[in-house]
């Protein structure tokens, strides 16, 4: 993490060299406040901060403020009563040189400077913090997925709702064919969990009816109906036929954008997606990050048989359309009965499309695939 | 009279200065100093490096720590008067 070593020097020699090249060397004391030294620091080629005692840490804040608030980019040197054990700290707050009173400890200074390879705090030495490193490694989700793999869906939801994202989580539901499972599990943990119901304006009447029935039966007290913007619809889909011209654009207008509006209010969303749905969902983890927001998929490893068993065990009402062969239910414009036991085969049937986009990374974050 | 005491650098145990400039855990082996020679002797002990941490003078009367700090120095000499160190030691 250390990019270059602190320049360790005796004071007089270094000053003589600098002075020969011309320019101001400004000497400050740790006791000086950054606001008071603004004029003096401007145009300096070197600023010295003198430490009266190594125990007086004001120089660390002063250095930091010169770098950050005054934007001082020149050489910054710590002088006076400083000790090798401070090397890493000096460097991190923005010093690039030292001239300690005691000049015979060069080896200790070099060793101390290399003592730590990591730090938790952001500082002025451009090194990545431990938080950055974790972010890059996706460590948070690895940990959480490992934990959730040991738990059943109810336990996952209990942790997600009552602990990990307490007060910052909602369930997204289409009130489609399998929606009752996730909603019922959530109602067992906390029936006041926000339920986000996306009304695209193109839903089957049966879906709207089912939403009311099921919400009542499960005692869900916080159903939020999300609708696309009227203004955007009249601008982009004035004739209501956008779905037939460009299904992706229609999904974007009626699903992705309205949902984006509310997503900021929650840190995590519970979905009912399952691996057996196939397509992009075959490798679905229990927890994932999509566009910086978290999706919890507690049913990801449920099979169709388990779902049927759950419906029976708790005597949950079915979506009226399932009787007619619909296995996955979206908008009436783009949903047909499923074929050959492939649950999502009726969605965008005949198109090379399997997801509407609300569960997909935006292009910027999408993994680079060979095309 | 005065005695020079300190803590041992390596383990912190209480030590006293002897007449030959060594350190001992035994107060009986320590060198009692007249008040007028005590400051000099302390300055010498302070100037040394290696065995003792923070040498200072204590009052010494009739073979025991005396003066206003008698209790503190008595506890340093004999150990805690109460607490688990004692109850476990007695067990």
């Amino acid at each position: 993490m250390l990019t270059s070593q602190l320049d360790h020097q005796t004071r007089t020699l270094a000053d003589a060299q600098l002075a020969a090249g011309g320019g101001d060397i400004v000497t400050l004391n740790g006791a000086d406040h950054w606001r008071d030294v603004k004029d003096r620091v401007e145009g300096a080629i070197q600023v010295d901060i003198e430490f009266d005692s190594f125990k007086d840490g004001r120089g660390f804040t002063l250095a930091n403020q010169l770098r950050q608030r005054l934007g001082y980019a020149g050489r910054l040197r710590a002088t006076g009563d400083i000790i090798p054990d401070q090397a890493g700290f000096l460097k991190r707050v923005g010093f690039d040189a030292i001239a300690p009173d005691r000049g015979d400890l060069a080896a200790d200074w070099a060793k101390a400077e290399a003592q730590f390879s990591l730090a938790y705090q952001p500082a002025n030495d451009q090194s990545a913090t431990i938080i950055d490193l974790r972010e890059r490694s996706g460590a948070d989700l690895t940990q959480l997925n490992a934990k959730y793999r040991e738990q059943d869906a109810l336990e996952v939801l209990r942790d997600a709702i009552e602990n990990t994202w307490k007060g910052r989580i909602a369930i997204m539901s289409s009130f489609g064919a399998e929606a009752a499972i996730g909603l019922h599990l959530v109602s067992r943990v906390a029936p006041d969990t926000p339920v986000l119901f996306l009304d695209t304006g193109r839903l089957f009447a049966q879906t709207e009816q089912y939403q009311r029935e099921l919400s009542e039966k499960l005692g869900l007290t916080n159903v939020r109906v999300i609708r696309p913007s009227e203004t955007e619809i009249s601008a982009e889909d004035a004739d209501g036929k956008l779905w037939s011209r460009n299904a992706d654009a229609c999904c974007d207008l009626r699903k992705v954008r309205p949902l984006d509006g509310v997503l900021n209010e929650y840190d995590a969303l519970i979905t009912g997606r399952k691996r057996f749905h196939g397509g992009d969902r075959l490798s679905l983890p229990l927890v994932e990050r999509i566009n910086g927001s978290i999706r919890v998929n507690p049913l990801s490893n449920w099979s169709a048989e388990e779902i049927d068993a759950y419906f029976e065990r708790y005597d949950l009402p079915r979506h009226p359309l399932t009787e007619m062969g619909y296995a996955s239910i979206g908008c009436w414009t783009c949903t047909a009965p499923a074929t050959d036991g492939d649950v999502r085969s009726g969605r965008w049937s005949g198109q090379d499309k399997s997801e509407c986009g609300i569960h997909r990374p935006s292009p910027l974050e999408a993994p680079v695939a060979a095309e | 009279m005065k005695i020079i005491t300190a803590n041992r650098l390596t383990d912190g145990r209480v030590i006293y200065r002897t007449s030959d400039g060594q350190w001992t855990p035994s107060l009986a082996e320590a060198q009692p100093l007249d008040n007028d020679e005590a400051d000099n002797a302390l300055a010498i002990a302070e100037g040394e490096f290696g065995i003792a941490v923070g040498p200072y003078l204590i009052d010494y009367t009739e073979g025991e720590p005396g003066g206003q700090k008698w209790r503190r120095e008595g506890i340093r000499l004999a150990g805690p008067t109460a607490g688990t160190t004692r109850t476990l030691g007695a067990a």
């Binding site: 190594f54 007086d56 840490g57 004001r58 660390f60 930091n64 054990d85 401070q86 700290f89 707050v93 200790d108 060793k111 730590f116 390879s117 990591l118 730090a119 938790y120 705090q121 952001p122 500082a123 431990i130 938080i131 972010e135 460590a139 948070d140 989700l141 940990q143 959480l144 934990k147 336990e155 209990r158 602990n163 990990t164 307490k166 007060g167 840190d267 978290i294 | 803590n7 650098l9 390596t10 383990d11 912190g12 145990r13 290696g50 923070g54 003066g67 700090k69 008698w70 209790r71 503190r72 506890i75 340093r76 805690p80 008067t81 109460a82 607490g83 688990t84 160190t85 109850t87 476990l88």
Partner: protein, 547 residues
């Protein structure tokens, strides 16, 4: 419970290597004692009367069974068979050799522990509600936030050489059990009108020579802004806190001097500059940390037993606490045997607690600011087995919260700063109150003893405080009345002149008798005291004493 990742573990190893090197340099003379002292303190190493003392960090007081077992092992292998749990939820060993300490730190690191910043003029080990994640009155578990603060404050490049020590406490429940009003920064998790969670920030509390209750500096800081706000406070303190006078160097004096509005304005000026910068907490990190902390969920909920031996029921009456999950309870393991040394546990006792933690405690045990231990999660059907094992280990004293649950610092028996002894006085008070039946009769009463004005025994915030002072070689004890640590925090008032050690137990017994005579209904001691004022008890203190 939090578990280290490779980064945390590597940093702790590097810190041990650094300390080993510092010890080496001290022994061979490259470091003077003046230079070494602040460095060893920052790693929890004091030089006390008889020996070095090592204070090991127990972040927010939480331990796993394996960690408690290691504390037991260290007490036997490097110390004299016991450890002392402190009011800041840490543990102290009183007899280690300096040259052994790097090895002790290696042993600690093997179970993800350390002694970083348990002393020194830096941000100290953060403390929290010992019932976090369990308490029935909890809004949000404070432990994830305490862990986030622990990491941010560890080896902070800018705030390691502060004017004076700096203590942060955090509470997430309705009742304040973390003492947020008596810390340099106290954080209370709150919900705002919109239902969002955040922090109330209290600054400038503290005990010691100039006791102060913290003032409210910000009524709502969003979670993602926590670290930038803390940084702004520390930056203002580091620049403006006094360094010319040790006794005026704490942030409470700065808040007094500037006034709370001016102080808050200064913090806001700095905060506005850094708020949206790199210190903003990514949601993913909050999530990652939070994912380690959970409250056990159980399927079959049994009620708290109502039958059983009288001693068991008596223990439940005083040492049981309600849990947020039906079927679970929290229990206090009192480290205050009658006439014993407050806060001490032997090697064997720590091993028993580790076993109970493992078998019955969902692998969690806590240290409280009252120097007790807590098993936060115990199934109700296991309470009897836990109690039985505690009885065998002499850990089942049924006095949590009672007058014999005395807090005391090590005092002049160990401490280099003390003026008077604390332990024998607390032992005598405990024995007297128990013998007279007053501990049970008086109900909830806090008694806390400090052996000097530094107030490590928290006497300022006890209903009955005892402060040891030295008058020309003799120990005297001043009584203070009316202090409170958490709920309705207040600083006790000194009542009259100091007492000789042998007069203290009788005086306290008379105070409690006077309370029992004057209380209305089932009024608590502190409420009677606040209703009548401390003068009403003055006569009781000095009655029977020759003038």
């Amino acid at each position: 419970m939090y578990r280290y990742d490779d980064f945390d573990a590597r940093l702790v190893r590097e810190r041990i290597a650094e300390f080993r090197d510092q010890v080496e340099r001290r022994i061979d003379g490259r470091l003077t004692e003046d230079q070494f002292k602040p460095l060893r303190l920052m790693n929890g190493v004091y030089l006390q009367l008889h020996a070095y003392m090592l204070r090991v960090a127990i972040p927010y007081g939480a331990l796993r069974a394996e960690q408690m077992r290691m504390l037991a092992t260290i007490s036997g292998k490097y110390d004299r068979g016991y450890g002392h749990f402190t009011t800041r939820q840490n543990i102290q060993y009183n007899w280690p050799s300096l040259v052994d300490i790097p090895d002790i730190l290696e042993e600690l690191a093997s179970v993800e522990m350390h002694a970083i910043q348990t002393s020194g003029n830096c941000i100290r080990n953060v403390t929290a509600d010992p019932f976090a994640g369990a308490a029935a009155d909890e809004l949000e578990d404070s432990r994830p936030w305490a862990e986030i603060i622990r990491q941010w404050s560890t080896l902070h490049p800018e705030f390691t050489f502060l004017p004076r020590k700096f203590k942060i406490a955090i509470n997430g429940a309705a009742e304040d059990r973390a003492g947020i009003r008596v810390h340099d920064i106290g954080l209370q998790i709150v919900e705002n009108e919109a239902g969002a969670r955040g922090f109330e920030v209290w600054v400038g509390g503290g005990q010691g020579r100039t006791p102060r209750l913290a003032r409210l500096v910000k009524d709502f800081v969003e979670p993602r802004d926590l670290l930038s706000y803390l940084t702004a406070i520390l930056r203002v303190y580091n620049q403006h806190g006094r360094r010319d006078n040790l006794y005026k160097a704490r942030i409470k004096i700065l808040v007094d001097a500037l006034g709370v509005e001016a102080f808050a304005a200064e913090v806001d000026e700095e905060w506005s500059y850094i708020r949206d910068g790199e210190l903003r907490l990514p949601q993913s990190e909050i999530l990652r940390i939070r994912s380690f902390f959970s409250t056990p969920s159980i399927t079959e909920a049994s009620p708290v037993p109502e039958a059983g031996p009288a001693a068991f029921r008596h223990w439940l009456k005083h040492n049981h606490r309600d849990h947020q999950t039906a079927g679970l309870s929290s229990v206090v393991i009192s480290l205050k045997p009658i006439g014993g040394t407050p806060g001490d546990a032997t090697t064997g006792q720590m091993q028993v607690v580790a076993d109970l933690t493992e078998h019955y405690g969902f692998d969690e045990v806590r240290v409280t600011p009252d120097q007790n231990l807590v098993l936060p999660h115990v199934r109700n059907e296991d309470l009897f087995a836990v109690w039985t094992a505690l009885v065998d280990a002499k850990l089942a004293t049924a006095n949590a919260g009672l007058a014999t649950d005395i807090v005391a610092c090590p005092g002049l028996d160990y401490c280099n700063l003390a003026n008077a002894r604390s332990i024998p006085v607390s032992q005598a008070i405990s024995s007297t109150l128990e013998a007279e039946g007053l501990s049970e009769a008086a109900g909830d009463v806090t008694i806390k003893i400090s052996g000097c004005i530094n107030a490590c025994g928290h006497h300022h915030v006890a209903a009955i405080g005892v402060l040891g002072v030295d008058k020309r070689g003799e120990e005297f004890y001043q009584i203070t009345l009316g202090g409170a640590f958490g709920a309705d925090a207040s600083i006790g008032e000194i009542v009259g002149k100091g007492l000789a050690a042998e007069d203290v137990p009788g005086a306290i017994a008379r105070i409690l008798k006077s309370y029992l005579a004057q209380r209305l209904g089932d009024e608590r001691f502190i409420d009677t005291l606040r209703r009548l004022g401390s003068d009403a008890f003055k006569e009781a203190i000095y009655a029977d004493l020759a003038a």
